[in-house]
Symmetry: C2
Subunit: 452 residues, 2 copies
């Protein structure tokens, strides 16, 4: 009960494990919530985690397995025989978690595990769920739900619910279906409690129900549930038959994942990096974007190298290279992340394309003017070199406009081609803007210094 | 019912509004969900929105008000008399929404509105909630909940719940308290339905309950609810008395807000930018960070200017300025956003500081070595200028290490001083790394070219 997850306690636990003190470890772990046990497991090595696993029973063991880190789980399941995975874990899980975990296994192991599941209904549910795309509503829904027929009375319902409720963790809503299994509406537990037992369900259920199709994208599902504050949403097939339900905890995960993905992209990190990660895992996430940055830098060097003579003649031009590059990068990232966020937020956008373009162009022009004037004033006062003053100000003006427009247009194009628009916020676009900015700057500089 | 939110439909609605066709507008809006009406309102101007508002009734009007954009709401409430706000909106709202909206009003208006509320219990709840810090559990909880006494039977409960349930939208959990209002545990509706009516509550409630103190930070609340997949969590005061509850929809909002805040910071945007925003609103969000970038660029120009002679002698040095600056910036942002994300994820980190430092230093050294070798090879092959080859490679090595360490340490320091660590991911640190990188590069370059 009072086992707090601190370094000292974990070390103590490790010691007990290394001394093979089964009883003490079991006593420590026994009263913990599966989510806490999973958190502890993530801090242990595979052998230590396995020691603790063998002490867990039934539903707790399977709940812990669902909660632990995906990499750790894969490593762990690799060493277990299929019948053990089936009987000790999969049998106890909700169908959605079970399907997710089966999907993580190698193809042959998948089949073996599925064949070892004794509860044939559970096995069937998992096979059904595996059919759906993993990012679709069908892929994240669970098959466990409580349904009642519209023709039943409250009394019949209460009896039937008692039976069905056993395998459903939380009821949330009771779904009302007709004789063809088509979803008609929902019945809140509140209504069920507050109505006399002989009331017919068709008289008290709420037909105004939000539902999604099995094909709906998970982001869309999250959007609807968030917008209407739904604890759970039913999933139906193309002819309206109830197939499963998605609960709020899945939505929180989707929102978090989406946000993290975009955040990593804009920070130039590939994939998830977590506090406990190994050095090579962190390196693997960081190297790719840095490599793109390096190539960009080399390209920049080539561009500057091709203007060597001009730079040798007018050294001052070099001074403002970092300014031009930085402004181009910053403006580009701002523009593209605004677009990415507005795509991600899913707010329906009723601005017409022409109005949107007008707005973007106005913002670009205004921003460019403000900063061109500021840098003009600075150079005018600080250096008095008029060719330099004009070159830097005019280049900055043009570079900001280009960077804004690229930053806005590129994520929109990516999105149109079903590529993640967040790609445009990464170092890729910054690098591109850097180089373009340099080229514009050198060209204009040469013009004003009369060395074109 | 079938009113879809498209540009055409909104335009049609606007026309009806401008022609004062009250009945047609009312018919269109009548069957919409408040969240949909709010979405439409956000696309209309204040007068049009007001026209529609006056057609809404009771709870729907107040639900819509809760859902619309904060800026629009403030503008709208400014033109309404306090008694209207109280009687038409606040009376119908859940206490948490009511408190949020009252908090948005000017101080004098707040008092007037509070005094106009007829339901004295509601007014009292709002006053209580306003006492709490708005980012604390107390500040986001609602006072509406269903409680039962541990000494009651299932039958008494069902009767009491019928009474209490009227003002609670969704029950989720029934909280069990003792005679001192101290929270003892919870009772699921499932248990209540599945047990005989003469069962005493003390025999069937679940004492293993997660709760938070009114002082808990909202991020902490979100973390706990997410970790344990809770639909709602009870909030207690220092002596364990039940004060309110927080529901999953608040958590989704918190997760989303936090993620957006961090995302905006790393993209160099101040505050929220939404698709419908006015040009000046977007400008206001973008100018500040760009201004910092400009200052950084000017500082960079000053640094380069102070090395004018060397640059004039060795023009090639200028070629790699963008590369050094870009790599410094990218590495810095990567490091700091990894730290920010690990702080935000709230995963308890059991790595010791010395282990963490070792890991960071290793990653920095490895990354620096890889890229120093790559750029060394490039320059060795492409230019053959050995002084340049050594300068760029060695500078890049040192710059990557500095940028990694700054990127890691600065957000940790900010966090220690209770400043948002995400500040370190913004253009601020990139700019700093740029300039530091330039200084290191020029110094090393001069050394190798023998012009120090």
């Amino acid at each position: 009960m009072s086992f707090a997850i601190t370094k000292e306690n974990i070390d103590q636990l490790r010691n007990l494990v290394s001394e093979n003190k089964t009883e003490e470890v079991a006593a420590l772990v026994k009263d913990l919530h599966p989510a806490d046990i999973a958190e502890i497991m993530d801090d242990l090595n595979t052998d230590e985690a396995k020691f603790i696993y063998l002490l867990l029973e039934g539903e707790i063991a399977s709940d812990v397995l669902v909660e632990i880190d995906e990499d750790a789980r894969k490593r762990f399941l690799k060493v277990l025989p299929p019948e053990f995975i089936a009987s000790k874990f999969i049998e106890f899980m909700d169908s959605d978690d079970a399907a997710d975990i089966v999907a993580e296994l190698d193809e042959e192991v998948q089949k073996e595990v599925l064949n070892e599941i004794e509860d044939i209904e559970q096995a069937g549910d998992i096979v059904d769920l595996l059919e759906y795309d993993e990012d679709s509503a069908g892929g994240i829904m669970a098959k466990e739900l409580v349904t009642v027929n519209e023709n039943w009375t409250v009394a019949t319902c209460l009896k039937e619910i008692s039976k069905q409720a056993e395998e459903v963790d939380e009821i949330f809503y009771i779904y009302v279906i007709d004789n063809d299994e088509k979803l008609k509406g929902l019945l809140s537990l509140k209504k069920l409690i507050l109505n006399p037992t002989n009331t017919q369900i068709s008289n008290i259920y709420d037909p105004e129900i939000k539902m999604v199709n099995t094909d709906a994208r998970q982001e869309e599902v999250a959007e609807i549930m968030d917008k209407y504050d739904l604890v759970a949403i039913p999933v139906v097939d193309d002819i309206g038959r109830l197939k499963g339900r998605i609960t709020f905890d899945d939505v929180i995960d989707i929102v978090r994942e989406e946000a993290e993905k975009d955040y990593q992209m804009v920070s130039g990190i590939t994939g998830d990096v977590e506090p406990g990660d190994k050095i090579w895992e962190v390196m693997r996430a960081r190297i790719p974007w840095l490599f793109i940055g390096l190539l960009g830098g080399i390209l920049g060097a080539v561009v500057l190298g091709s203007h060597e003579e001009s730079l040798a003649k007018v050294t001052e031009l070099a001074f403002f290279i970092p300014l031009i590059a930085a402004m181009a990068g910053n403006v580009g990232v701002q523009s593209s992340s605004i677009v990415v966020q507005s795509i991600a937020s899913g707010v329906k956008d009723i601005e017409t394309p022409s109005r949107k373009l007008f707005k973007e162009v106005s913002i670009a022009l205004l921003t460019a003017s403000i900063f061109a004037v500021l840098i003009f004033l600075y150079n005018y006062i600080a250096s008095g070199n008029m060719a330099l003053t004009y070159s830097v100000a005019l280049s900055l003006f043009i570079v900001i406009i280009f960077a804004s427009l690229f930053g806005t247009v590129i994520p929109l194009i990516l999105n149109r081609f079903k590529i993640d628009p967040a790609l445009a916020t990464g170092p890729f676009i910054t690098t591109m803007n850097d180089i373009l900015g340099l080229m514009i700057y050198l060209l204009i500089g040469k013009m004003f210094f009369g060395i074109l």
